[in-house]
């Protein structure tokens, strides 16, 4: 067993882990942050996506030890108190979720996608960028719609702030 320390959702945390402990496992079992989900074992479904040092990664494909010293944001850390992140709000507004299981990974992937592309996200780009996230409920239709709406809104608010 070894000790890791990292900043998760703004708080410094430490924990005992095995060498083989995955980041997803550490978040769920070690920290009780069960919003990060495990939907496959071949690193394809994307239900486990979190941000490590500001970038979307699959927490099931990273050892917890590798995240030592990193800054991690999970779905639980996205909202500011009762203030939902615009992507969270858009998923609700546009019915971008049904069973909710892929949703945390989808939202974390979407936030990362919007941050990388700014407001210049068209439908084809969004669909291509969702290659690493599988949803079985929605047919993606409303997920794409939600991400587009959030991207438009976020770029709009950025533009307003800059004025």
């Amino acid at each position: 067993m070894a000790t890791v320390s990292m900043t998760v959702n703004g708080k410094t945390v430490t924990g005992e882990i095995e060498g083989r402990t995955l980041l997803s496992h550490f978040l769920r079992e070690g920290l009780g942050l069960t919003g990060t989900h495990i939907g496959c074992d071949t690193s394809q479904c994307g239900a486990c996506v979190v941000h490590v040092d500001g970038k979307a990664v699959k927490s099931c494909t990273m050892l917890a030890a590798q995240a030592d010293g990193c800054t991690v944001t999970t779905i639980e850390g996205l909202a500011r108190g009762d203030q939902l992140h615009p992507v969270q709000a858009a998923f609700r507004e546009h019915h971008g979720l049904q069973c909710g299981f892929c949703t945390p990974g989808m939202i974390m992937a979407a936030v990362d996608m919007i941050e990388r592309h700014g407001g210049k996200l068209d439908e084809a780009t969004i669909r291509h960028e969702l290659e690493g996230n599988i949803c079985r409920c929605t047919g993606y239709h409303n997920i794409v719609k939600a991400i587009k709406a959030a991207a438009d809104e976020m770029s709009g608010s950025v533009a307003t702030a800059a004025e």
């Binding site: 083989r20 074992d41 979720l97 892929c102 945390p104 079985r136 929605t138 047919g139 993606y140």
Partner: protein, 788 residues
């Protein structure tokens, strides 16, 4: 309609917990002293278990126990059963092979559990499971029905000689044979409905706890129907009497049918929790899900459709062989029979139908209901053969369909179903307009100028939802009644709790059901809480499948609301000294018609509970329950039209346009209904283009046992959909609802294949229409062009 009432596009009440990571799924449960379970599974498709040696595993770190099937049997745990009796045409009952939750002497599919390890951590359990030494004697295996039925085939169950589970028929054989004999034209097709893996994104899981002092079990599990699970676990598997067993299905991450059934793992975990004296948790990994979740479809069919000289259908003969896998799963027998052959009339007036269905054991994962369950298979047969017939007859495929549509209701088909309401032409017109059907030739020509092959395909589906009434399904062999129950509790302060036997695992019941209450009582949906998924809280229920929660589950709530409203009106009338008949419910208040006198729901509720001033003889309280058993199935129907473009160089298909026009009867929340259609379409398009199980013929290994090899539809495989509804009210339930959960998966596969075969100019295309298959046909289509 109020802002929150029936027909309102209300964002979902349940979403907040899911978008903030606060959903509570089974795997999120942790109990003190909990042990983790890993199963020892068969690497062979068919083998005898010679010996199980757990001594090395028991020495490994953290290992608490290794449990075997013989111990489970010795403790009196019953075999898994199929709960729907089907009789062969000769009157003999279906031949069900014994299925122990942990195999005792023989394994019959890859992945079947033979032992379980309980350890302090999941990793330790997995490590130890690998160290359990099993001596196997491999036996010959079969994966297809043709092989399994062949003379000399390996025998899978001693109870089922020849591997033929039943040989069932429906309809009038003589009349159908005569129609085909005397037809002006007969279209014949051979068709395969590919085997699918449901793959809800949340893998199955179970957390089992046993309280020795109370002799009481609790099971948290990924179930679509916790009460049915408790019933089966109690009555057939001998876990505990029902009052000593609580089943909780918390947030469940999708089901699509695969979470209806009670699987070996839940049974084994309950047994193990008592055996080892600590709570245990098992969570399926995705590979286990591929190997052990009930698969769907897997039919081979020959169909012949007869027409008279006026192109009207005169008879339909269907021969289907269905692969049920290695064991009969809980409802498996009903899927290729009463959920399939009873829909073979499609949307058409068919004077004679005869269907013969054989079901067969193979050394593959058990097959059961998957989104649509029998109706997608029926629709695929009917809508492919209609398309092929139109092409053979040189008719527009829509015109041939239109000519044969059922137009008067009720309509009794030759295969049990009595269609109660519909307007099939209305859906067709809506879909044709939305896709600009007339403009297709121009779009095809434009695509050709870009080197693409463009095709258009139509599918007019009908399905049957609700799976009720109980008396009817009982007469067809169902082991349970298929009603639903509800309880409406108005609290003393006027807030409302609705306890329902339906289970939501993505369908949005917490919102839709609250909208019904809002509509009826004029209260906001935020004052309504929907409670479901816990046998200790909810009185009873049959669960969610067969698109039944709206038509049956909400009707039960409606009945309970009737009773609540009636009692509240009596109280209000008494308090306001008015006649009960003068009381109207409006905006959450009870008003005396024609006056300004009114009492709020809160005031009436409080009066009901304080009971200081109630009508003479009235019981205090404001809480009513209802059981609702419908009078008929419901019959959603619709028309789907899709356009595809094929890249002939690679065979890659792009779905460029997809229109769905559905008649679901009355709709409570259009946003949620559209979402259900989108999801169904994705699964149907997945079946048509991408998904399919491949078994290695020699070893019986599932080659497509991960997302690396089984192609799940991704966002870039699909278009945005154009979905719309037409409406005929269902006369069979008080709300006029037909159901919307499965239609997309039922109607879409033939639309895709019809479009592809239209583009390619050949009918010789099976699902999934992979790029290679399409490429080969595109080459063949191109060759004559090049020769010209």
């Amino acid at each position: 309609m109020g802002v929150d009432g029936i027909g309102a596009r209300v964002p979902r009440k349940e979403d907040k917990r899911f978008i903030t990571g606060k959903g509570r799924y089974t795997d999120d449960m942790t109990l003190p002293r909990m042990g983790f379970v890993a199963f020892v599974r068969s690497p062979y498709a068919h083998a005898k278990i010679q010996n199980i040696d757990a001594s090395a595993a028991m020495e490994m770190p953290g290992v608490d126990a290794v449990l075997r099937g013989d111990e489970l049997v010795a403790d009196g745990i019953g075999n898994l059963i199929c709960g729907w009796m089907i009789h062969s045409k000769d009157g003999t009952p279906m031949k069900m092979g014994a299925w122990s939750a942990l195999a005792t002497d023989t394994v019959r599919f890859v992945g079947q559990a033979v032992a379980m390890v309980v350890a302090d951590t999941y990793a330790q359990a997995r490590d130890a499971a690998e160290a359990v030494m099993v001596d196997w004697e491999e036996l010959p295996a079969v994966t297809t029905t043709a092989e399994a039925l062949a003379p000399g085939a390996p025998q899978i169950h001693p109870e089922c000689a020849g591997n033929l589970i039943y040989d069932w028929e429906i309809g009038d054989q003589a009349a159908t044979d005569a129609a085909i004999e005397n037809a002006a034209h007969v279209t014949k097709i051979d068709i395969t409905n590919n085997r699918l893996v449901p793959n809800p994104m949340e893998p199955r899981a179970a957390v089992a706890d046993y309280d020795g002092a109370e002799e009481h079990f609790t099971l948290w599990t990924t179930s679509q129907n916790p009460h049915t699970a408790r019933l089966v676990l109690s009555a057939f598997y001998n876990i505990a009497p029902e009052h000593k067993l609580r089943v909780i299905a918390p947030d469940v991450g999708g089901g699509f049918g695969s979470k209806i059934y009670v699987y070996p793992e839940e049974v084994a975990c309950l047994w193990a929790a008592k055996k080892v004296g600590r709570p245990v948790k098992w969570v399926s990994d995705r590979t286990e899900a591929f190997l052990t979740d009930a698969h769907g479809r897997d039919h081979t069919t020959t169909a012949e459709l007869a027409f008279d000289a006026d192109n009207r259908i005169t008879g339909f003969r269907v021969n289907t062989t269905a692969n049920l896998g290695a064991y009969m799963s809980l409802f498996s027998s009903a899927v290729p029979t009463y959920l399939y052959a009873t829909l073979l009339s499609g949307q058409y007036a068919m004077p004679a139908i005869y269907a013969n269905v054989k079901t067969v054991y193979t050394n593959t994962t058990p097959v059961d209901a998957y989104r649509g369950a029998g109706r997608p298979e029926a629709t695929y047969v009917v809508e492919r053969i209609m398309e092929v017939a139109a092409r053979e007859l040189g008719l527009d495929p829509i015109e041939l369909r239109r000519k044969n549509f059922v137009t008067e209701f009720p309509h009794q088909t030759p295969v049990i179903m009595c269609y109660d309401a519909g307007d099939y032409d209305a859906s067709v017109r809506a879909a044709q307009d939305a896709i600009d059907y007339a403009g297709f030739p121009a779009r095809k020509a434009e695509a050709a100028s870009r080197g693409k092959l463009r095709g258009i395909g139509v599918s007019c589906y009908i399905e049957a939802c609700g799976i009720a009434p109980s008396k009817a399904v009982g007469s067809l062999g169902a082991g349970v009644g298929l009603w639903e129950s509800a309880e409406v509790r108005v609290n003393p302060v006027g807030t409302i709790e609705v306890l329902t036997g339906s289970h939501s695992h993505g369908q949005g019941h917490e919102t839709t059901f609250a909208q019904l209450v809002a509509e009826r009582l004029g209260v906001g949906i935020d004052t309504v809480q929907i409670v479901h998924g816990d046998t200790d809280k909810v009185q009873f229920g049959m669960g969610t499948y067969g698109s039944r929660s709206g038509a049956v589950g909400m009707s039960a709530i409606s009945k309970a609301l009737d009773k609540v409203e009636a009692k509240a009106k009596k109280i209000a009338a008494h308090l306001m000294e008015a006649a009960e008949t003068d009381i109207v419910v409006e905006g959450g208040a009870f008003k005396v018609a024609g006056t300004d006198k009114q009492l709020s729901m809160t005031e009436v509720a409080l009066a009901a509970y304080t009971a200081h001033n109630l009508p003479d003889g009235m019981e205090p309280g404001l809480k009513e329950g209802a059981f609702y058993d419908p009078t008929n199935f419901t019959f959603p129907a619709g028309c789907y039209i899709c356009e595809v473009e094929i890249d002939p160089d690679t065979g890659k298909t792009e779905v460029v346009n997809f229109v769905a026009a559905d008649d679901f009867g009355r709709i409570i929340n259009p946003m949620i209904v559209e979402g259900q259609v989108h999801g169904g379409l994705a699964q149907g398009i997945g079946q048509a283009l991408l998904e399919g199980c491949v078994y290695d013929a020699d070893s019986g290994q599932l080659t497509t046992a991960s997302f690396q090899d089984y192609c799940m539809p991704r966002a870039d495989d699909l278009p945005s959909f154009k979905v719309m509804t037409t409406e005929t009210i269902c006369p069979g339930n008080p709300l006029g609802i037909k159901g919307c959960g499965e239609a997309g998966a039922i109607g879409s596969p033939p639309a895709l294949i019809n479009a592809l075969t239209d583009a390619l100019g050949t009918e010789d295309l099976s699902m999934p229409a992979t790029a290679e298959k399409v490429w080969r046909l595109a080459q063949a289509a191109r060759a004559p062009m090049a020769a010209e």
